[in-house]
Amino acid sequence: MSDLLAISGLVKHFDDRRGLLGRITGNPGALVQAVNGVDLGIGEGKTLGLIGESGCGKSTLGRAILRLHEPTAGQVLFDGTDVTALDASDLKAMRRRMQIIFQDPYASLNPRRTVGEIVAKPMRIHALATGSDLEDRVVDMLNRVGLNSGHLNRYPHQFSGGQRQRIGIARALIMKPKFVVCDEPVSALDVSIQAQIVELLDEMKQELGLTYLFISHDISVIGYVSDRIAVMYLGKIVEEGETREVLENPMHPYTRALLSSVPHLEKTAGKRDRTRLKGDLPSPINPPPGCKFNTRCPLATELCRQSEPELRHMQGTQSAACHLSLANAEG
């Protein structure tokens, strides 16, 4: 595969264990295994949707790719370059080509800077343009995201959430990156605004030929924007494949449960036959042995409790990490 981005064996652990002192005092700190060996590829111009429950490691994965978190292990090949091996100056150069859009439109903009300054900042850092040239490019970018030059000198607090998200998008895209991590860019917005931003991101993708890693916990949004879907559970990818295939024929019991939990507009109050999960996502501090999902899986067997399944090809474009073969179990 000639993926633009190829992740292999990516691990990110947050380690604040205390060593000897901790052992003496019985407060050893914790090793949070936020991302625990992820292999993924994203083809150029494609959108990979990443879905999973809160705390399963989606954001950590997104940030580790950009080295906003230093990965513990693994490789991130971007256009053939191993991002994890770059030194400071090469990394800086690389950052022109990989960007991120954040979830919280209120926290992601510096309240002390004007919109003009915020959007121009990446250009300044990389000395890509100065003076009126810079201003032209900023205004151009603002126009593209649906704002205008009149907004240049305003401060973030003067904008609504949706508008702020547009500013964040302008900032991420002004350097014309090839790859953008969208970390739940619409989760904090109201439904009617969500749609605006989803549309905008889509337009930008077409216009600039972008590649997205699109993180969300809303499977309808993911389904709508992605070419492929990856389902994450407790630091691991449990299923991956073409969007349509995964949604129509989920291979992993977790994916199924996820899908059947989504309330549907079409059906009215009557109850559907559903796969209901018991309990919560286990803690990434001490994940269960065997298959990480076995504690909640309605189909778990002894094997699941003992050995951890690898992500393997199932059918079509789909792979899943499950001992059971559900390929044709259901329609």
Binding site: R95, Q103, P111, K121, H157, Q158, S160, Q163
Partner: protein, 301 residues
């Protein structure tokens, strides 16, 4: 609550003001704070223009004027409105010159301490690692000393005097802005706009000074005004205990101390300098409270 401007609205019409400006306006709308701000500025003016406004040389002693009462009392003299001290020096002039000591020490200590504290706090909070460990330990250790005791011990070692007082106070004072800044920096450095700057490739100093610093200046401003009031009282206390500035320099604290044994009869010797301390410190505190009310978002509604 956030201000929601119309998405379709004309962008040009809304005035662009920073949060800081907005808060400042809020502050300015608090009449009490403004009143006391003017009193504070009055003291500053008094300190700067002391030679011009003081009616007499503050160290001009004349034993024939010893313990002259304030002008409105029997035996008073309007050319010495607040009376004279035990050596016949004009109390008003000494209070006017005394403001120099209080304000100079207050301002210098706070300036030095805030500069050091902000830089150290930023470094500790953003760089983390051993920088944080070293700075935080030092802060913990210095916090282990009650303030006045620390200052007294230092001055007991180094001897009294303007410079020693400033140093003795600043040695510990920086810890306070440092802690505040470190905490704010820690909180801010996880915020997404800082991550965004990192994602753009901004350097660490760029992030600390341009992204984080401007956003934590409000608490620093509030803290440093409160602390300034505190430092002024500390200086006065040191002077009162005889560890303050040297004569013939007049310090309010030492004036209270000198006048204290006259308190039973010649009450004006200590009362007026004491009032001066109270008024200045009170003014700064009110201003600081006004700043806090304006800047602390919890009070916005």
């Amino acid at each position: 609550m956030t201000t929601v401007t119309h998405w379709t609205g004309d962008a040009g019409t809304a005035k662009s003001e920073t949060l800081f400006q907005r808060n400042m306006k809020l502050f300015a709308s608090n009449r009490l704070s403004i009143f006391f701000l003017f009193i504070t500025l009055g003291f500053v003016f008094m300190a700067v223009a002391a030679p011009l406004i003081a009616p007499h040389d503050p160290s001009d002693a004349d034993l024939f004027r010893r313990l002259l009462p304030p002008a409105w009392m029997e035996g008073g003299d309007w050319s010495f409105p607040l009376g004279c001290d035990a050596l016949g020096r004009d109390i008003l002039s000494r209070i006017i010159y005394g403001s120099r000591v209080s304000i100079f020490i207050g301002a210098t200590v706070i300036l030095v301490a805030t500069t050091i504290g902000v830089l150290a706090g930023l470094a500790a909070g953003y760089l983390r690692g051993w920088v944080d460990i070293v700075i935080s330990r030092l802060v913990d250790i210095l916090l282990g000393f009650p303030y006045l005791i620390f200052a007294i011990a230092l001055i007991a070692m180094t001897g009294p005097g303007l410079q020693n007082i400033v140093l003795a106070l600043a040695y510990k004072e920086w810890v306070i802005p440092c802690r505040v800044v470190r905490g704010e920096t820690l909180a801010t450095s996880g915020v997404e706009y800082v991550e965004a700057a990192r994602a753009m490739g901004a350097s660490r100093s760029d992030i600390m000074l341009r992204e984080i610093l401007p956003n934590i200046l409000s608490p620093v401003l509030v803290v440093s005004t409160v602390r300034m009031a505190h430092v002024i009282i500390l200086e006065a206390s040191l002077s009162f205990l005889g560890l303050g500035v040297q004569p013939p320099m007049a310090s309010w604290g030492s004036m209270v101390a000198d006048g204290r044994s006259f308190m039973l009869q010649e009450w004006w010797l200590s009362t007026f300098p004491g009032l001066a301390i109270l008024l200045l410190v009170l003014s700064i505190n009110v201003v600081s409270q006004g700043l806090r009310d304006a800047f602390d978002p919890r009070f916005h509604d």
